[in-house]
Symmetry: C3
Subunit: 224 residues, 3 copies
Amino acid sequence: MLHDLFNPSVQHALDLVGIFVFAISGALLAVRKNFDVFGMAVLAEVTALGGGLFRDLVIGAVPPAAFTDLGYFLMPLVATALVFFLHPEVERTQTAVNVFDAAGLGLFCVTGTTKAYDYGLGLTSSAVLGMATGVGGGVLRDILAVEAPSLLRWDRDLYAVPAIVGATIVVLSIRFDVLNAYTSGIAVLTAFVLRLLAMRYHWRAPRAWNRRSSTRETEKATAQ
Amino acid sequence: MLHDLFNPSVQHALDLVGIFVFAISGALLAVRKNFDVFGMAVLAEVTALGGGLFRDLVIGAVPPAAFTDLGYFLMPLVATALVFFLHPEVERTQTAVNVFDAAGLGLFCVTGTTKAYDYGLGLTSSAVLGMATGVGGGVLRDILAVEAPSLLRWDRDLYAVPAIVGATIVVLSIRFDVLNAYTSGIAVLTAFVLRLLAMRYHWRAPRAWNRRSSTRETEKATAQ
Amino acid sequence: MLHDLFNPSVQHALDLVGIFVFAISGALLAVRKNFDVFGMAVLAEVTALGGGLFRDLVIGAVPPAAFTDLGYFLMPLVATALVFFLHPEVERTQTAVNVFDAAGLGLFCVTGTTKAYDYGLGLTSSAVLGMATGVGGGVLRDILAVEAPSLLRWDRDLYAVPAIVGATIVVLSIRFDVLNAYTSGIAVLTAFVLRLLAMRYHWRAPRAWNRRSSTRETEKATAQ
């Protein structure tokens, strides 16, 4: 069984940590959007479990893990309670939240890729679905909050690329038959560190070529 | 079979009523958003069938009921035609629509919970999915109309709580082995009445604690 | 097997063309929304594959074709690269893109209907799901870009009707046992030509009856 890469209880604990930090980011956005406590809980659940839910529906793993593991469901409620009572303190620790979110991203893209391959997807498809597992919850969070998904915006630090790299390391490990706890750990770490570097140095992806020049011209024209 | 709680034809008639009133709310929002008649039909279908469709995908009941029961599909079209020709009259009966919508909410959260349990979900997961069945269509409706989901907004009367209570009564009935037409009816009625009371007395859920104070301060600061 | 209506390699080539032009429309919207290159790729993939993905989840064809056929995944990336480097040229050929998009719509509603019927759906449900296959990707594209879905807006030329007509021709052909490459071709062509005519003559669907008068009155009132 590929997806018992780590000791099962270690794996489960890591999953819960990833779910928790993703849920924090959902609950914080709900506060910023002025949603009530149920809106916070919904956004926390969707952010934390949405990526995995999409993956499980695509590979036919029903009912999805989100609906069979009680801990997966309760963790976002704990995050909601924390943000509800302490949100200025939580926002002040935004850096810590970002670091955990990066860890969640690394972990989810790796476990997502592995689970997709376990269910019979090809290598490329597994990597794509693994990446979608990592970034999907955040996209759903932004859609529910009626905001342009931060994944798609050019003025946000790279988020998809670390997930792509992590997922690619996993499928290369599978391809060369060296997938184990160590190579998986390297994949998680690489995605995690890349995301931290992207935030630290504000790495961004380019927009369409002529867009940039024409936008600048428009801005000049508007400024005059 | 748990989900033949009521006489099947009674159950089916109740389902159609729930679908119809949910569809009315979808078509009315489409009118308010200036969509055309096809936009009305799409929003009516999505509002009425979206919650059940999500539930069926999660529990693996494919093809979902929305695509196997012709009545489920036709009912929203009837609602669309009605709103198309008579929408000022329908809006004038907004109170009646709200009452029916509350009935639909009560019914859907109960039948959703029961069907989820039938398909092997645990008690908590069944209640969560039952609640999602009740509120999911409305969330999809708001997303398609590019509006902040009214479920999440703090300035809307409680909607999730009646569904949670109804679903909880069902799983408690299952737990204590007393689920039947009477206890199910009590669950539907409780959710229905709670929703009516929430609308009548404008019950609302709190926002994050410090949000309220900091918002007030910001407002003061802005006012000066 | 119903869905081998055309020579398989012809069918596959047609699918790839449809995917490609849908992807172009997704990437172009991403440019207009100022998304980065990853946003362009995501919007291209979602627009091109979203309708078929929804269809496959509903009929239980998992993993969906989008995750098993590598060409389906790569085509939107080619479209993204093209728009990335050449988007002013691509926009200048907007008419050509619209023509291809109409072809994609015709093709997808026909193959979607056929595949749905193959998987055991009834005639009406197959037509509905076929239509959803054709229009679904565009709706998801607009939701991700936080725009009111152009499918729903009254000020857009008819898009759903050509898909409905194409899907209806398919189910009538099935009903009267004459579904083959010719009748399927007629269905594709009819949807295609109807969409072209709708764009050429700006055919639009009506809004709710009293809406139009009350809007006009409001406009008058505002103008005074």
